[in-house]
């Protein structure tokens, strides 16, 4: 085989009209780039040409960007989790140190000690992302888009956490200690179980869906007290201040933690607020009648554009997506989508 670099062969190859013998040559150059510096040089010329070209009307590569973004978010979460665990342990260590010092001081027969200052841990899942969390008692769960969970760095007798938004809990059963989720409308008292709680401030309701075990719902002012069994969904209507219970398929309500967006015969009006949070977008419905259209669909890892496209395929809906604008302060706004009835 020749040991020379031939730019014509490379050209033929890049254009896709080449023989196996051509390929064997190119393969050699790629394999031993040190011996053939001409290859890199020629490729850099090609690259420069490509970057100068107009790239209109080619297939969109946006799905690759979505993948990259997803990868970046994943890396970031795991890194930040590690970082914060370290911080958390440091904090625990610092807290543990105080009683030790106190004891030593006491031994010396001296002063009283300052009260222990316990820290609160707060986890936030921004819109468009989901976060897995682990609590100090080895309970775990998932936090859905735009939600916040607050819990003491060290649990006391009762384990009490505060939730704003939606979360799925897998609570470790401890005989001595109750686990309580505090949402704006009521407390959920748990005895080792799996369940989903959704209490977004801009929704009209707060709901609890029980997958396994037993939970108790206690109204804030002692107004109601209800014990749930698995497969039930309790919905508290904030306007009417009443609690309703229905039978459901519980897994469907926690499918979001595995990355599924499940829509089951729900009116568009309800679906949209979930899609908005899921994709961190704003959706404007231009025809009120649209809100009563019902859907059934399950999406996994689909970009917003694809979800909208599929909805538009099955219903007489037209939509357009606005370019992301800057508001008067120069902050980038959310993606905005407009929906209206197709007139035919």
């Amino acid at each position: 085989m020749k040991k020379n670099f031939d730019v014509h062969i490379l050209k033929r190859f890049s254009l896709g009209k080449y023989s196996y013998n051509d390929y064997a040559e190119v393969q050699q150059w790629f394999n031993q780039t040190k011996d053939f510096p001409e290859l890199k040089k020629e490729l850099s010329v090609e690259w420069e040409k490509l970057t100068r070209e107009e790239t209109a009307n080619k297939e969109s590569l946006h799905h690759i960007f979505e993948k990259i973004h997803y990868q970046i978010l994943l890396d970031q979460t795991s890194r930040e989790k590690k970082f914060n665990l370290l911080k958390f342990y440091r904090q625990v260590a610092a807290i543990l140190l105080i009683p030790v010092i106190a004891f030593l001081l006491y031994q010396l027969g001296r002063n009283e000690v300052a009260p222990v200052n316990t820290g609160w841990v707060e986890i936030t899942a921004p819109e468009g992302a989901r976060v897995e969390f682990f609590l100090p008692d080895s309970s775990s769960g998932w936090l859905n888009s735009g939600s916040k969970l607050k819990f003491p760095a060290v649990f006391e007798q009762n384990r009490k956490v505060q939730l704003l938004g939606e979360a799925y809990f897998n609570v470790k059963h401890l005989a001595e200690s109750d686990f309580i989720v505090d949402v704006s409308d009521f407390d959920v008292r748990v005895l080792g179980t799996k369940f989903n709680v959704a209490s977004y401030y801009n929704d009209t309701q707060t709901e609890v869906v029980l997958e396994e075990g037993r939970v108790e719902i206690n109204g804030k002012s002692g107004k109601f007290n209800y014990t749930m069994t698995p497969g039930k969904r309790a919905i508290f209507n904030r306007e009417l201040r009443v609690l309703n219970v229905e039978d459901v398929e519980a897994e469907r309500y926690s499918a979001w933690k595995d990355g599924y967006l499940v829509i089951d015969q729900e009116p568009l009006g309800q679906v949209l607020s979930r899609i908005e949070r899921w994709y961190n977008a704003e959706i404007v419905v231009e025809d009120e009648t649209l809100k009563s259209y019902r859907f059934k669909a399950t999406f996994k890892d689909e970009p917003l554009e694809e979800v909208l496209r599929l909805i538009a395929l099955t219903t007489p809906i037209k939509y357009r997506i606005d370019k992301r604008e800057l508001d008067t302060d120069g902050v980038v706004k959310k993606k905005k989508v407009y929906m209206k009835l197709k007139n035919n």
């Binding site: 420069e48 490509l50 590569l61 990868q71 978010l73 970031q76 930040e80 902050v331």
Partner: protein, 230 residues
């Protein structure tokens, strides 16, 4: 000139899609300050990426992803591999964002990463292509002519297309045996079938391919000196 303002509070960035997970310790003063970032020239976009700005990152992606994809595709001849290169290059840019330089050519910076990625995938694909070459050559009457014919890419594509057309089980067996070069025994175990059945599938698959290529040859869709033998 467009102005983007972004807020920074502690290490908490209010970028739309940045994920935050953080611990608040009481008694720490949260301080807030404002920064003005102009996003227009490439150097400014790079500076934005260095400050974790996802929008700058997206703008850089929009600018370079298409040429990068075409570049990778012309040397790798595989859409999947070209997409992988695009993904790999941009993840690398993001991971190394703190060390990006705003004063040197970003275009040649991308080239360095892209060249290495393309080279890596090229060498990976070379193994498979050699194996495919051997399969194709086995159908050919005149090996020298075959190796000199400028339709090699066309034949590779046709081979992939025909493999896709095989029944599921046969396809699996064929790919494992001929492309991944596994032994009869290994394949038999993996698919829990007898080695005899594996052999049968291979024979049938080769017969099918040979037949299809012969027909293409007769129709003049492929060059003439294939299959002169037999």
């Amino acid at each position: 000139m467009r102005i983007v303002l972004f807020l920074e509070r502690n290490s908490f960035h209010f970028c739309s899609s940045v994920l935050n997970l953080q611990i608040f310790v009481p008694d720490i003063n949260l301080f807030t300050h404002l920064r003005i970032v102009r996003t227009n020239t490439e150097a400014e976009l790079i500076a934005g990426i260095k400050r974790n700005n996802h929008d700058s990152f997206q703008k850089i992606f929009e600018k370079y992803s298409q040429p990068l994809y075409s570049f990778a595709l012309s040397y790798l001849k595989s859409k999947e591999a070209a997409e992988d290169v695009v993904q790999e290059v941009f993840i690398k840019i993001w991971t190394n964002r703190k060390t990006l330089k705003t004063n040197t050519s970003f275009q040649s910076y991308i080239f360095t990463i892209a060249f290495n990625a393309v080279r890596k995938y090229f060498n990976k694909l070379a193994k498979v292509n050699t194996v495919k070459h051997d399969i194709l050559q086995s159908f050919s009457g005149n090996i020298e002519n075959f190796n000199n014919d400028s339709n090699f890419q066309l034949l590779l594509d046709k081979l992939d297309e025909l493999i896709e057309q095989m029944p599921e089980k046969r396809k699996q067996v064929f790919v494992k045996k001929k492309i991944e070069e596994k032994s009869l025994k290994e394949i038999a175990e993996e698919l829990s079938i007898t080695p005899k059945t594996v052999e049968y599938h291979i024979t049938e698959a080769m017969k099918f391919l040979k037949n299809e290529f012969e027909q293409l040859n007769v129709k003049g869709l492929i060059f003439f000196y294939l299959f002169i033998r037999n």
